[in-house]
Amino acid sequence: MKWSKFEESKRVYPDKVVNKLIKGFSNATGEVLELVVETDVLKFETQTDFVFRLLLVSHRLENYRFKVATFGYNVEIYPVSIVLDEQIYNELFNKEMRPREIIKKDTEQEFEELMVQAFESERFQEVVTGLLKISKKPDLVS
């Protein structure tokens, strides 16, 4: 067999998509809060080969972490599998999420649109504004 030369996929990694979206978030919170993408080694939620968690953290509450979403992919990169925070899901899809229900998005664009909707959800805004307030409350800060 004669092999033609393989080209690397041009698909953008979902973690890169999220990292691009979260740029500027910390600044918008006065550098108090931050969104971080972490590798999930346990991989139990999306059942994919590569798994990441998107976490909201506070610089003033050392151990606080709120899981906005878990997302993962296999070697094909897309579709990407996403497990959203339940209340973000309920709000976006206007129905009750089954525990750890997986959403699949076939393209980078579809994934980006979903994440933008998640960041614009009332639930996300409520957690961020609540956490901002608590992060400035002296008796609650670690």
């Binding site: 972490r65 709120f66 339940e86 089954r98 525990p99 956490l131």
Partner: protein
């Protein structure tokens, strides 16, 4: 350390909660099915020496703590709230897991397996870390989501190897003191629910959906423990002996004290 968990079934006032705090004096009271705005807007808790401790990100469990104790928030998800209790170097996790009214037991087991993974990842191995999990698991202590190797792996005994290997995988256990409560055979549960499967096939009517499990490290360092359901306070009855029925809410509050 004393912890109380209560699923209030959307109680609309704080009177019973204040009475629990006054009579039982827990370090932390965890509440589910409670309107957070009721807790936020009511300063009368402060007079009892307690305050509402907001935990944004977790809507299914709220925290009330003694004013003078120091706790820190950890991982928050809709179903559970992680906190650190530095005084006891212990991680406390309170849960209100998905209801068995809407989920298949296998689905709950998958969820609880994932929850256990999340504890292992965020807090660590139960053989090396002091951990308490308290709350509404929505399954009984004897059901497979709690006892299976690939469930929560919570045993009913203090005499165990506390870890096992199965098909190449190592698993450390938790100890579930809730089993002690089965000595009460008049109302062996925190909730009465006649037929979970919606058929007369089910025989059990009383359920310990509210439970406490502790890590082996904590068990080893403990001097004594006490687990009990709260059936009354100075002013209120949460249980009618005459009717053999839960009052106020559809769950009894669960209290757990451990001396380290």
């Amino acid at each position: 350390m004393k912890l109380i968990y209560w699923n209030t079934n959307n109680i609309q006032r704080l009177d019973e909660i204040r009475d629990i705090l006054t009579c039982y004096k827990p370090d932390i009271l965890f509440l589910s099915e409670i309107d957070k705005t009721l807790l936020e807007s009511n300063s009368s808790l402060n007079k009892t020496g307690y305050l509402y401790f907001p935990n944004p990100g977790c809507n299914r469990v709220s925290i009330i703590k003694k004013t003078d104790i120091d706790i820190h928030l950890g991982l928050q998800t809709n179903y559970y709230t992680f906190i650190n209790f530095p005084k006891f170097k212990t991680s406390v996790i309170s849960v209100h897991l998905p209801s068995q009214m809407f989920q298949h037991l296998d689905g709950l087991k998958a969820f609880i397996r994932g929850f256990r993974y999340e504890i292992d990842e965020n807090v660590g191995n139960p053989l090396e870390n002091k951990i308490i999990v308290i709350g509404d698991f929505n399954v009984n202590p004897f059901e497979r989501p709690m006892i299976d190797f690939d469930g929560f792996s919570a045993t009913n005994t203090v005499n165990s190897k506390f870890q096992k290997r199965h098909l190449g995988k190592q698993r450390a256990f938790y100890y579930n003191p809730t089993w002690k409560l089965y000595a009460d055979n008049h109302f062996p549960g925190t909730k009465y629910y006649a037929r979970p499967s919606a058929s007369s096939y089910d025989v059990l009517e009383h359920h310990y959906l509210d439970q406490v499990v502790i890590s082996i490290k904590l068990l080893e360092e403990s001097k004594s423990e006490k687990i009990e359901t709260i059936k009354s306070t100075a002013t209120y009855n949460f249980f009618s002996i005459k009717q053999n029925k839960v009052l106020v809410s559809d769950h009894l509050p669960l209290s757990y004290t451990i001396n380290i």
